[in-house]
Symmetry: C2
Subunit: 322 residues, 2 copies
Amino acid sequence: MCITGGAGFIGSNLADRLHADGVEVVIVDDFRTGRREFVEELLSDPGVSLHEGDVLDRRLLERALDGCDWVLHMQANADVRHGLEHPRRDLEQNTVATAAVLEAMRAARVSKIAFASSGSVYGEPEVFPTPEDAPFPIQTSLYGASKLACEGLIGAYAHGFGFTGLAFRFVSVLGERYTHGHVHDFYRALKRDPTRLRVLGDGRQEKSYLYVGDCIEAMLLAAAQHANRPGELAVYNLGTDETIIVDDSIRVICEHLGVHPELEHSGGRRGWAGDSPLIYLDCTRIRALGWAPTLSIREAILRTLRWLDANPSAVEEEAAVS
Amino acid sequence: MCITGGAGFIGSNLADRLHADGVEVVIVDDFRTGRREFVEELLSDPGVSLHEGDVLDRRLLERALDGCDWVLHMQANADVRHGLEHPRRDLEQNTVATAAVLEAMRAARVSKIAFASSGSVYGEPEVFPTPEDAPFPIQTSLYGASKLACEGLIGAYAHGFGFTGLAFRFVSVLGERYTHGHVHDFYRALKRDPTRLRVLGDGRQEKSYLYVGDCIEAMLLAAAQHANRPGELAVYNLGTDETIIVDDSIRVICEHLGVHPELEHSGGRRGWAGDSPLIYLDCTRIRALGWAPTLSIREAILRTLRWLDANPSAVEEEAAVS
């Protein structure tokens, strides 16, 4: 299996899991956000190879795909919040990049793709929990729009070229190697200044989180189910059956760190333009395959915090990048 | 108002209509599919200007936008059927081009956009007539996927940058200056050989058509309604409350031409991969604004045939291109 973004947060966890199962793993990563330390150990093993570069490098990608049956397409710009500051970034790194992956797959005669989509494609839904066939949404973020565009491309390749397609609409994913997002930002800020914490929005935004290990099990289960269904794009929500408000997730972090900051809310229902005040996905479809998350949101946050404690460089390096 | 693709089928009809209303019209067209003869007369009038080039030419577009309040973004690759032969074309000419239009608008401080989307974004819907908030569809064509991606971008610009957005999901549009699609193809084929006609699919595909004049009235009505609603993308289906099967539309053409060809169906429910066996849109939303089509599907086909009769060059030139 070829994993694009295989040195990233979810991608490298996928790589570990597949390798442990004896699956041959080909990692494509340009290390723009992926990290060498996430795959260094793995790469010393036979059965794991790395093609260093961008998926837009057609030759590199075709070489990487040679002999693969699946592409687990995880590479993406995952910076949801700053889309408006760089309006072309999501288009180029997500939409155009996915089109390039699909064309390289066609050339290399690889026709199975599992895609890391996002619950943000629902924009601000009106139905909760939100099912995969919710009313046709209006997009509210460039990130969500780009992920939706990718799903559309994969659907068209499935229908037109007989590809087998899977799209996973994730809630926010947490766990080992988590290096961006709410929990990371709050942790970093509290490490710097435990007396006060700036919170975007009113802190009442209701979010969903999923543990990366649970996320991966769901993806692999669905991939096994759909391996022999060419011509279809199947879509699965991946999340837990609970939500947590931002202020409560901050509380978990503060308890863990033993700090008591004053919270300074920027106000408003949304943390930023495109931030959804409520994310809560209906995961009946993936649960019907026999999957269930093993960790609650609180447990997933704590697992993440313990990993950040043990890997202070993940926090520092991120600071150096941004 | 700036009309991209203003020398094309729908764009040039829009230009005529707006000019007749005394509105200043700026046409952007690269004449790849637009035609000089559609705008020649108009361009001799004051109050109408042409910027010849592609919307990807940022400078040209910004110059064109100077002083405009609305962009009517009609420029597109409208070749639905051959998407799979040129998998990057819809992405580049529709999705990336629309991203470029939005960025040029932001630079030029123009924030109102009406976009020619398509009923093909519904893929193969399960609800008929299909409303704008139908269950979240799976894409079945690269054309539909690209139009959906454009809608997503406009939604994100509306939400993030306060743009006023309108997306019109058209059924197939017919009328004066119609130069591609079913009716055109059948007319051309029967002019060449009136004894036999090859029909893609089983001829039972059920299609909807809308007269271009009715289409334009609907667009302008919605634009007037939404002119003062920044931050929103509003979506409207545009069609008639009827459908016609492909074989029946062929019958109308044959009667008009006085020919009796033998029909040779290629078979299958779809004419090509991505062809929807049934297109029938719920137009309650646009009708609630007071709009209704003035021509039936049959009348729209006949109006189109009469225009093709009077403009044989439209058929010949198209043949030279394809």
